[in-house]
Amino acid sequence: MDFLDYIIPILYALGMMVVFMTMCAYAVLAERKICSLIQGRVGPNRAKIPIISQIPIIGNILTRLGIFHPAADGLKFLFKEEITPKHVRLTYYYLAPIIALAPALTTMVVLPFGRYIDTNGLVQPVVLADIDVGILFILAVSSLGVYGIVLAGWASNSKYPFLGSIRSTAQMISYELAMGLSILPVFLWAAAPGSDYGLSLFGVVQSQKTLWLILWQPISALIFLVAIFAETNRLPFDMAESETDLVGGFHTEYGAFKFGMFFVAEYAHIIMGSALFVLLFLGGWHFLPGISDPWPAGFFGVICSTLWFLLKIFLMIFFFIWMRWSMPRFRYDHVMHLGWKILLPLAIVNFIFYIFVIALIDKISY
């Protein structure tokens, strides 16, 4: 039995990894398809794989939907010529993509994505590691991702990546503050007197059984949303790789699979950001605000709650993509201005406001 105890968590982790990476791959496809929808194009619809594509009607439909494109994209990165420029600092050059991708994949460990009812009748999260400082872990680890970009810019030993990585670093540091401050009221509210959840994400979700936090703390939600856009380097904020002036930003000198890893890391960050936003503000796997969960008991209920959670994540990813294709890009100093002079004071005021409100509510109810 000892042996199984070691094997099963590893299998769980691998299973989650597979699902997560598949989601990353299909997030890329979603981006291409949704972007073409917005721009009035058809989008990717050519890639075919043997056998499945040849099934009469279904194969055709799947090809039109571009279902096989992620495979083609991935293989393209794998089989491209591996070019390493002469002027780079080799160790860090190879290390950077790994450091960019690893934090995004690590954070999924503490991400609860469903709920089950254990033998004692208590609600428990479906999660790889149920630690009670989940949000701290996520904030700490996901901000390590910036090191990937910094190292990439520095190790490339070239000017455009250098400028890109400087911008990205400044941006990430300035938005980290607003992000951290914006979610403090959330945990202040979730860790109500009498609850023993503390900083765990599960506790936040459980506290939203009747009221989603986006309705109760809209300002926090807004600041957090802007901050995750900035953290993921997505378009209104994609200073780091603004392709029109910095060519490719920090990954200008990267090709083949090394670039592929940056690429996957970006989408992994988006999925993580979406998941976090859903957990903190959109009620996680809870059905709708004001309506109690209709999930049936037992295993089927676990599946239902997980699927509902995934659906919300997909909506968030859609929102990310939608934003990207309808917004122009900020200028670097405007980003700084927004982060330090608008979002940070707003987050502080918001925090203080909720301190008083929550203290007042506690006074009244106890």
């Binding site: 122009p328 670097y332 100093d333 405007h334």
Partner: protein, 412 residues
């Protein structure tokens, strides 16, 4: 202790001139181009950067030099028409017309009304095509790809119209000295009209995406401002000049092709910044549409070439094959070129990018002695070394995008 300065965070944040020397760091030389996504061609900018600010900028031209002016001296007037396609390759029809008008001015030739109307439609369609690219690429430079796709969908429809009219989508070579290559196809005007109907909704879409967008306005309002005096002294023309508040449109001021018959407005800007230049282009598209509608509404009958100019315009093919006189006329035209009087002439037309001028020196015969081209993009670019310093590196993209130049015309 006297040379120590006290800093507060506010001082550093505002980059005051007093604290600036203490904050100075090493400058970085950055070479943008010749192949770079923001330069729209093969422009090279040698920059000195102080952090993210540009302190010096020197544009380096000539990567697309083909020697068009010298080539012109070695061929007949009609043979040079295809070369004018390659000047401003986003509006080849307008270049064709401008060149033909210049040579006709030398020959003191008036083309019939129908030919003029065709040419006006060509010019205005070319203007729409060029401005759509200008606005779309500008949007793309500011980070909004979707605008680019919207305007390019319209340009694709335009290219289909061009193809129907001239046989080529891109390099049209449509005009001849004394006329145009062929009459308009059946039903073409109707299709132009229905294209015009589709232009305004697309413009509205672009308008909704950009004009009042806060990010876009932050990036363009007050960026790359050109004063009236600067604009005149650098010889800037076209929408870029009008954005500075100077009312100069050759279609109004020195009317050619019967532009005086049409009722249209010339949009004038106020600040001469990137935002105004964007507004100019968007508005000019609307005016062009209105001009085209007026032309179509009152389209003249008649011939599409100057029939009496026997030494300049080749007769129709059917006549060449049946009549001796026309056969000889055609033979002379093909071997010797259209016969021009001696003289010098300068003509400039209001092209989408600005005033495209041709200076022709003729010693008689079918070949120009010297042909000088004034490319508006070249003059519009000359201000770069003064315009860019003091801006952020990211502003380069919007400034270059708003100047809307074409390197084919700069380098010739």
């Amino acid at each position: 202790m006297s040379d120590l300065k006290e800093f507060s965070v506010g001082d550093i944040g505002s980059r005051s001139s007093e604290c600036e020397p203490a904050l100075k760091t090493e400058k970085m030389a950055l070479n943008v181009g010749p192949s770079h996504p923001t330069t729209h061609g093969v422009l090279r900018l040698m920059m000195q950067l102080d952090g993210d600010l540009i302190t010096e900028c020197e544009p380096v031209l000539g990567y697309l030099h083909r020697g068009d002016e010298k080539i012109a001296e070695n061929m007949t007037y009609n043979q040079f028409v295809p070369y004018t396609d390659r000047l401003d390759y986003l509006a080849p029809l307008a270049n064709n017309v401008a060149y033909a008008l210049a040579v006709e001015k030398l020959a003191k030739l008036e083309v019939p009304e129908r030919c003029q109307a065709i040419r006006v439609i060509c010019c205005e369609l070319a203007r729409i095509s060029s401005h759509f690219l200008g606005v779309g690429v500008y949007g793309m430079d500011a980070g909004s790809w979707t605008v680019f796709m919207y305007t390019f969908t319209e340009r694709e429809k335009l290219y289909t119209l061009f193809e129907e009219l001239t046989g080529a989508r891109f390099t049209t070579s449509y005009t001849r000295i004394g006329g145009v290559a062929r009459d308009i196809p059946d039903g073409w005007l109707g299709r132009v009209n229905s294209f015009c109907k589709g232009v305004i909704p697309v413009l509205d879409q672009v308008d909704r995406m950009l004009t009042r967008n806060r990010i876009f306005m932050d990036r363009t309002v007050g960026i790359g401002s050109i004063s009236k005096e600067k604009a005149i002294s650098y010889g800037i023309t076209g929408p870029n000049l009008r954005a500075c508040g100077i009312d100069l449109d050759l279609r109004k001021d020195k009317p050619y092709l019967g532009y005086e018959k049409y009722d249209f407005e010339v949009p004038i800007g106020v600040n001469g910044d990137c935002y105004d230049r964007y507004l100019m282009r968007a508005e000019e598209i609307k005016q062009s549409v209105s001009i085209i509608r007026q032309v179509i509404g009152n389209f003249p009958e008649g011939l599409y070439y100057a029939e009496e100019a026997k030494k300049i315009f080749a007769p129709p093919k059917a006549k060449i094959l049946t009549s001796m006189e026309e056969l000889i006329q055609n033979f002379m035209l093909v071997t010797e070129g259209p016969q021009m009087p001696k003289g010098e002439v300068y003509f400039e037309a209001e092209n989408p990018k600005g005033a495209l001028g041709f200076y022709i020196v003729s010693k008689g015969g079918g070949v120009p002695y010297r042909l000088k081209i004034r490319g508006p993009s070249f003059c519009n670019l000359s201000i770069l070394s003064e315009l860019l310093p003091g801006h952020h590196l990211t502003d380069t993209t919007v400034i270059l995008g708003s100047l809307d130049f074409v390197m084919g015309e700069c380098d010739r």
